[in-house]
């Protein structure tokens, strides 16, 4: 029964041993991956650890495959020759897979993105969940998972929002023309000085950057640690507004004064606007 030839010179026994070797190599790769993950969990970054595990896992499976093929009498050198035309056909058919595979290898070497990074890839923003050999998975902020082939990732414009240790954000705060801009700047600087995550260096920049139609625009530029910038950005603007209001400085809103010709005694004289509420002719 075991000596029965199934194909060419390959017997049932050889086939069973080959399949067994390949299955064992998969099991060994899984066990070793688990062991490496457990023992290096607190000693290596998640990103490095996952890449290391993948390399170990694929290496063991490839060794197992080559061994299994040699058991059934298939030598790699023979396969290369026998490949011939079939190889070309398969090559054309699987060029996208090979492209993704090569891109995946280059992504792991060049590392423009790492597991856990917040990125934008071709307009899709989210957190990198995994970088596999063929594809990359990102979790969007809406909570769904997106799989992007590595070839697309590699050739796409990638914005990595967490590549640096700090990040800057800015606000434009428009105050009324009759408010004291110097005082407003002092209030904002004091507020930023008390905020731990508004970095001391690079120091925040607070300045009047535009005299616009309805307001004096104060530009506020703040540097924050990359882990804290979003929480700070979403809270700081309202805190600035409240701190200004406590000191009697209000945020300006668009307003327009309309004059009707028949409401003036002398149509040839334009009114002089000295302040919002004080209009003389």
């Amino acid at each position: 029964m075991l000596d029965t030839i199934v194909w060419g010179k390959i017997t049932v026994l050889q086939l069973i041993i080959a399949i067994g070797i390949f299955i064992i190599s998969i099991i060994v790769s899984k066990i070793l991956s688990m062991y490496v993950r457990r023992s290096l969990k607190n000693k290596a970054s998640k990103d490095n650890l996952e890449i290391m595990i993948k390399i170990i896992s694929y290496a063991i499976m490839i060794i197992g495959l080559i061994w299994a093929l040699s058991v059934v009498g298939l030598k790699l050198s023979g396969l290369l020759v026998a490949g011939g035309i079939m190889g070309i056909v398969i090559g054309f058919a699987s060029q996208s897979i090979v492209g993704n595979l090569i891109s995946g290898i280059f992504l792991m070497i060049e590392r423009p993105i790492r597991i856990g990074d917040t990125v934008n890839i071709n307009g899709s923003t989210g957190i990198i969940e995994d970088i596999r050999i063929i594809s990359t998975t990102i979790r969007t902020f809406d909570g769904y998972q997106m799989r992007i082939p590595n070839e697309k990732v590699f050739t796409a414009n990638i914005s990595n929002f967490v590549a640096n240790v700090v990040r800057r954000f800015e606000y434009d705060v428009g105050i009324r023309y009759n408010d004291d801009a110097d005082k407003a700047i002092t209030i904002i600087k004091e507020l930023l000085d008390k905020e731990p995550f508004a970095l001391k260096n690079p120091e925040p920049l607070v300045w009047v950057n535009k005299l616009s139609d309805n307001a004096v625009n104060i530009n506020v530029k703040i540097w924050a640690p990359i882990s804290e910038w979003w929480a700070l950005k979403t809270s700081m603007l309202w805190r600035i507004k409240k701190a200004l209001e406590v000191e009697g400085i209000e945020i300006a809103f668009p307003q327009r004064v309309l004059w009707f010709g028949d409401s003036r005694e002398n149509n040839d004289t334009l009114p002089v606007v000295t302040s919002e509420k004080n209009i003389t002719q």
Binding site: N164, K200, N201
Partner: protein
């Protein structure tokens, strides 16, 4: 306030009030700050003790860095191959540990000083550090031990040229703090390599009478420490 205490107990100092009161299921820990902010925690234990001591000042308001940056109020210019020591201050964070036999567990970390962070280096390869501006002292100054600690800094200029320093960045991991009833001390060294780089490290001094070594927060958490040195490569 620093030291080991039996519970239930209650203590108050420098606007900080700590209370461990017995309840049916164990103890209730209450911490009150000068601004009336209050923090409570329930501890499920029959009998235990508490240890209150200064810990590495990198935890509040959030542990986002391992580095402490001291900026000096004056620049210090040091001669070639010269070694000099001076004193400065650093911010204190108070660790509250509960322990039974030899198992310690941090239950709270308190700071009476506002925290501030700064970037050392450039945004790409620099590090975020807990920032503290300090005066320079030739003699050990008197400070409130719940607010500030004293750092004894030994600077050695190994360069053949004069160099000027304005700051010191320390790796807070492996930081050894010592305390007694009056003050908290830390020892650090700075070896200047050239005008832009230096190697810094906290070290353990010879035993000093009356001083106890503080329980290190990260040792108590069993986090593996690889190196306690820091290489300042982005200016000194």
């Amino acid at each position: 306030m620093y030291g080991t205490h039996d519970i239930p107990t209650s203590m108050k100092e420098s606007g900080l009030s700590l209370d461990f009161s017995q309840v049916d299921y164990g103890y209730q820990y209450t911490c009150k700050l000068a601004d009336n902010k209050e923090f409570n925690k329930i501890i499920l234990v029959d009998k235990a003790r508490v240890l209150i001591n200064p810990v590495e000042p990198i935890n509040l308001p959030k542990h986002i860095t391992n580095y402490l940056m001291l900026e000096f109020d004056k620049n210090l210019t040091i001669a070639p191959h010269q070694e000099k020591s001076f004193f400065a201050t650093f911010p204190i964070e108070i660790g509250i540990f509960i322990f039974k036999r030899r198992e310690f567990e941090p239950i709270d970390i308190i700071s009476l000083l506002p925290a501030k962070y700064s970037l050392y280096g450039d945004p790409r390869i620099g590090v975020v550090a807990r920032y503290h501006k300090t005066e320079i002292y030739s003699q050990q100054p008197e400070v409130d031990k719940l607010h500030y600690g004293i750092i004894h800094i030994t600077v050695r200029n190994s360069d053949a040229q004069w160099n000027t320093i304005s700051k010191l960045v320390l790796n807070a991991y492996g930081m050894k703090l010592f305390y007694n009833e009056k003050l908290v001390k830390l020892y650090a060294s700075m070896k200047i390599n050239n005008e832009i780089s230096a190697e810094t490290e906290c070290f353990t001094p010879p035993p000093e009478k009356g001083f106890k070594k503080a329980m290190e927060l990260y040792v108590s958490k069993k986090i593996a420490i690889t190196s306690s040195k820091f290489l300042m490569m982005e200016g000194i």
